[in-house]
Symmetry: C2
Subunit: 134 residues, 2 copies
């Protein structure tokens, strides 16, 4: 049973090295959405946080040795489903980005932890969630 998705757009940024997690990033860039979907962006507001679902397109292939991993910034092991590692059974990423502008099919964002060219799969509202700034 395979499930197929197509990118709805791609990340564009000049920054070559991005932080490991959106919660510690102030990298700016753009999410350029396929023009056929422009109307779907109409109600996104400047200053809002959006949830961006993407494809970890550059991560190495997952094998069962990756079920337990030690995150680079932590001194403990974690199960892959308790970690944000890009090496996972389905290489799906999720980031929370701040919208700094919208121009047609382009969303200007702050907080990138994805590299230039990352394929975007979906954008969702924060409904029911907020940043944990603790």
């Amino acid at each position: 049973m395979e499930i197929e998705f197509k990118p709805i757009g791609f990340v564009q940024t000049d920054v070559a090295t991005v932080p490991r997690h959106w919660s510690i990033s102030d990298v700016e860039g753009m999410i350029v959405i396929d023009k056929i979907y422009t109307d779907g962006l109409k109600y996104i507001k400047i200053g809002e946080n959006i949830i961006v679902i993407f494809h970890f397109h550059q991560s190495k292939e997952f094998d069962l040795h990756h079920l337990i991993q030690k995150p680079p910034h932590r001194n403990e092991k974690l199960g892959v489903f308790s970690s944000c590692s890009p090496v996972r059974p389905n290489p799906i990423g999720m980031s929370v980005l701040e919208v700094s502008g919208i121009e047609g099919n382009v969303i200007h964002v702050k907080g990138l932890d994805m590299v230039d060219g990352t394929p975007i799969l979906d954008i969702k509202p924060m409904a029911g969630l907020k940043r944990d700034s603790a």
Copy 2:
């Protein structure tokens, strides 16, 4: 450019009708993960919230008329990327569930808004997010 994923597991619940959103659900059920991934669940704790990424496998096919939708419980139109509608370019869902127990490859959860048999694509920690209980 197509991206292929395989389910890592499936939702199991006896409840026939689920609420429209996890934030207003107290439906209980299980997430049954493929046994090969059991070790990846090792560090998930009872009482914790987890982010569950899934496939809206029963939603109707998206067409461009769905770029603007009126959610059933709201009196306004929204762009698909500002809404939680299951009818979206890539039918990917995201729910936040409370872990009420773990037994091997089975996670007992509360807060389901997915139907029995929903294919699960990924489980992630809440890193940087919390429930907005306002």
